[in-house]
Amino acid sequence: MLQVKNLSKSFSSTPILNNINFSLGLGEICAVVGNNGSGKTTFLRCLSGLMNFESGSINFNSTKGHLFISDKLNIFGDLTIEENLKVISTYHNQNYDKRVFNDSLLELNIRQFKEMPLKLLSRGNIQRNKLCLAMNLNWDYLLIDEPFSNLDTDGIKIFKDIFNNFKSKNRSIIYSTHQNYQELNYDKIISIENFKGIK
């Protein structure tokens, strides 16, 4: 179970996250919502361990750990998706299964781009490739920033199905969005208001 206690973060003297407390069990999906600049990405970066925070504690009680996918490109543009997976899995000290990889390409409808360097793809297709990386790595908690941006309606449906698939395998997802979250799937919701913390 993920437990966050009294998490506070500020930039200079401006508080961004204020005394945040929440917990998330395995197999749950959590949506982090808020306006632009409210601190959604900061929250996810603190959870991922990439950003230091002033006070509080974050505790992932899990065996496989977590994976953070930011809203930026997050890929090596000169490499194909398989080469990216090969490189990234080394950093995560894991091996990937070729069969699972091919299945994930089919599921995400990106098989036709398999041999292309990712820098040539559109933002929407890069987004699908990023989720392909997540599908092929081991983790208990997936922290993913703005997964639905740049996706068409077909892409959003595929992502929602894959998220449900993760959930059925007892894996948890924390995603941020500023979109109409009522249409998305979630078990818990965290609403971050500008400079105030969780509502």
Binding site: H66, L67, K72, L73, N74, I88, T90, Y91, H92, N93
Partner: protein, 219 residues
């Protein structure tokens, strides 16, 4: 594990547009600049060559470090790599080892002509390789830390060399002294002391890296 990470670095060097050839081309361009800026008789002077050689190597180090991190920054792969469970010191060492070997390749390319025409003995070549590796460790370990220190600043491309150069002057002076000693065969002038200073810099850089790399990545 560290070998796998080094293999990654080499694979990325090969695949990305910033590779060994690019750095070598840069180093050779600097060498050409040296050829045109000195009278021909002066270039054969080993003191001038030894000094310029290390200035070229330090400039190439700056480019190499910038390129190595640029491909991670440009595509924002940073988050995906550095949020992993892997010990960040491993990444630091993998970077230093692989970049040192790439720099050794660049040094070999610059020295290639000299090696063909000068009939150097095996011992001298071995000494040159050892010197290059020790100096590269010092240059790269300090270079990576200063790059990360200046990385968040908007004028980082200016700040990085400005802070880096004064710090590595002892490495450049002592590496030039040793190189001169090896080529000419005169090992009387502070030869051992220069080796000790180079080793001190290499070890200090690595120790600082072990303590600071993670903090600088997560700033």
């Amino acid at each position: 594990m560290i070998l796998k990470l080094m293999k990654n670095e080499f694979f990325l060097e090969k695949k990305s547009s910033f590779n060994l050839l690019y750095i070598s081309f840069f180093a050779i361009s600097c060498l050409m600049f040296l050829l045109f800026s000195f009278p021909l008789a002066k270039i054969y002077d080993s003191t001038v060559f030894a000094g310029f050689f290390w200035i070229i190597i330090s400039l190439s180090t700056i480019k190499l470090i910038e390129n190595s991190f640029a491909r991670e920054k440009d595509y924002n792969i940073y988050d995906l790599i550095y949020s992993s469970k892997i010990d960040l010191n491993m990444i630091y060492f993998a970077k230093i080892f692989s970049l040192s070997l790439i720099m050794l390749g660049v040094q070999f390319i610059i020295f290639f002509g000299y090696l063909i025409f000068s009939n150097l003995s095996f011992t001298i070549i071995l000494n040159l390789i050892l010197l290059s590796l020790v100096a590269n460790f010092g240059l790269l370990s300090f270079g990576i830390l200063i790059f990360l220190l200046t990385n968040t600043n908007t004028s980082k491309s200016f700040l990085f060399p400005v802070i880096f150069f004064p710090l590595i002057i002892p490495i450049l002076i002592n590496a030039s002294n040793i190189l001169f000693g090896i080529i000419v065969g005169d090992m009387s002038t502070l030869y051992i002391e220069s080796w000790l200073i180079l080793l001190t810099f290499a070890l200090t850089g690595i120790l600082l890296g072990i303590n600071l790399f993670e903090r600088l990545i997560k700033q």
